[in-house]
Assembly symmetry: C2
Homo-oligomer: 342 residues x 2
Amino acid sequence: MYKTGQVTIKDIAKALDISPSTVSRALKDHPDISPSTKKAVNDLAEELKYEPNAIALSLRSNETKTIGVIIPEIVHFFFSTVISGIEDVAYQQGYNVIVSQTNETYEREVSDTKAMAAHRVDGLLVSVSKETKDFSHFKELLERGIPIVFFDRICEELKTHRIVIDDFQSAFSAVEHLISTGKRRIAHIYGDQNLLICRQRFDGYKAALEKHNIPYDESLVALAGDHDFDSVKSITSAMLDKGGNPNGIFAHNDMVAYGAMLAIKERNIAIPDEMGIVGFSNWNFSSLIQPGLSSISQSGFEMGQEAAKMFIEQVQLKEEEFVPTTRVIPSKLIIRESTVRH
Amino acid sequence: MYKTGQVTIKDIAKALDISPSTVSRALKDHPDISPSTKKAVNDLAEELKYEPNAIALSLRSNETKTIGVIIPEIVHFFFSTVISGIEDVAYQQGYNVIVSQTNETYEREVSDTKAMAAHRVDGLLVSVSKETKDFSHFKELLERGIPIVFFDRICEELKTHRIVIDDFQSAFSAVEHLISTGKRRIAHIYGDQNLLICRQRFDGYKAALEKHNIPYDESLVALAGDHDFDSVKSITSAMLDKGGNPNGIFAHNDMVAYGAMLAIKERNIAIPDEMGIVGFSNWNFSSLIQPGLSSISQSGFEMGQEAAKMFIEQVQLKEEEFVPTTRVIPSKLIIRESTVRH
């Protein structure tokens, strides 16, 4: 069933229904592990011709010095900066970087993941599509010993390194900032709730309202849907027509905030006096447009650097030494004229 | 020297210092080819154990159904849209697409090209970096039978398919439009003159001035250098300080035009009355900023689609059937408030 030299600690763990770390410790004769477990592990390891670090060694000798990156959309400024951060570390360490975009579809994510594996990348850095609910395409790679680091849009159910920002707290501070400028009718244009980051931003919005005794009002929330300016403009217009009378908008990213601004300008609503706006991600255009857009700065470059570093650290470890870790990159609110008159 | 089965028509052509099409026709006993040439070609083909279509056949059987794309910078809206166009065709035809960016350096372009070849992509779609003067890394791939299609920033010396827009004519029409709005002191913020497209845009600028009897003035031209807003703003400010009194600017791309606008707004120069501005590429933000930026629309999506189509057509041909073709994608001037008051 197993080919020699391809058996991993995880295979043994799975076969015996125990954890990989138990297997690892059993093989090392660790005192915490019962003699019966040790015997079962060692017997099976012998039967399967388990070779310690076979995968790690094989990976090292076969390494292609290429990191595969899978992202939802290249056109997003945030993801462009993440790629630059990844490359900044990777090329210095002698790695090449190849990128595929899923165009936010599950189908292409599966196809891209398989293609990257077929091209024998040394590992993947991934931010998942908004459609993805099943992660077995990633699980399969992990089982073959190909490391994956998830960034920004992570997978919670797989044991990998992850790099995120605190989306809940960032959203909370964005909304609290709007409240501090005197706004209490605050709308939220939210992203696909299949994505953890979008749920966390929505939760942060609600928590800030609650802290300041502002009732949550369903007429003030709308799904961004497609992220082109015109469709966000329509969605914002429709929301304004509902009569909820918002005087603030928290948009789940800057692109959405730009689209919302188009609707607000069309109605000659004064920014920031009659309507304060905060975005998320601090795109390069947010300082260029008028009024400048207040936004959560989420350092994509730093996130990319960290993702590449975590990956390179991981490939130098033996499989059983690997401890999945989640790193949180600091974010901060950048205040511009869309919320505070200068 | 040559391994059996790896000899191509190009190898024979090179060894005899004749063109590949001559070799191809000689092998086919074409009446236009002299008997002595036919004999030389057939003798060498026999000596080198040339097998017709060896490369094409081997490629076809070994194909990975992956297209590699090498571009200067992912963050550029134009290149993002090209990638989307490539993917639009490629995924429909069962291909995956992987992308590497060179960050405008020759060194990384060479490294990315080798990595793509090592990953056995079926072919490359390439837009060259602004540093690239030596094309031997691409030549090597072509000699190994890996097709390359160049787009936008092409290589003139290699016999490949190419897709471009008419940069000279587009620049000419942009400048002529400024002249038609009454401007005669027209500045040009130009791109790296190592790139053919930048030289053609500069030439188009000069030709439009000449047609309208406007003398070329060196104090009105400046190199954009780095393309971030702040550095373009400084360059524009420095140019305005020279006292050349421009009342129009033709920027070699939209990003540069945005940076120039920052300098103009800082000095309270009225757009378009005191200063008309035209960009190039028609980025998505050019309709969003105020005033909207007049620009040359260069359909990146269509260019990407065409590049993928040309590649897919090429891999279905026998090597000797391939005829290098240059396709020109139509461009057009989009007029907004940066040149004409609405």
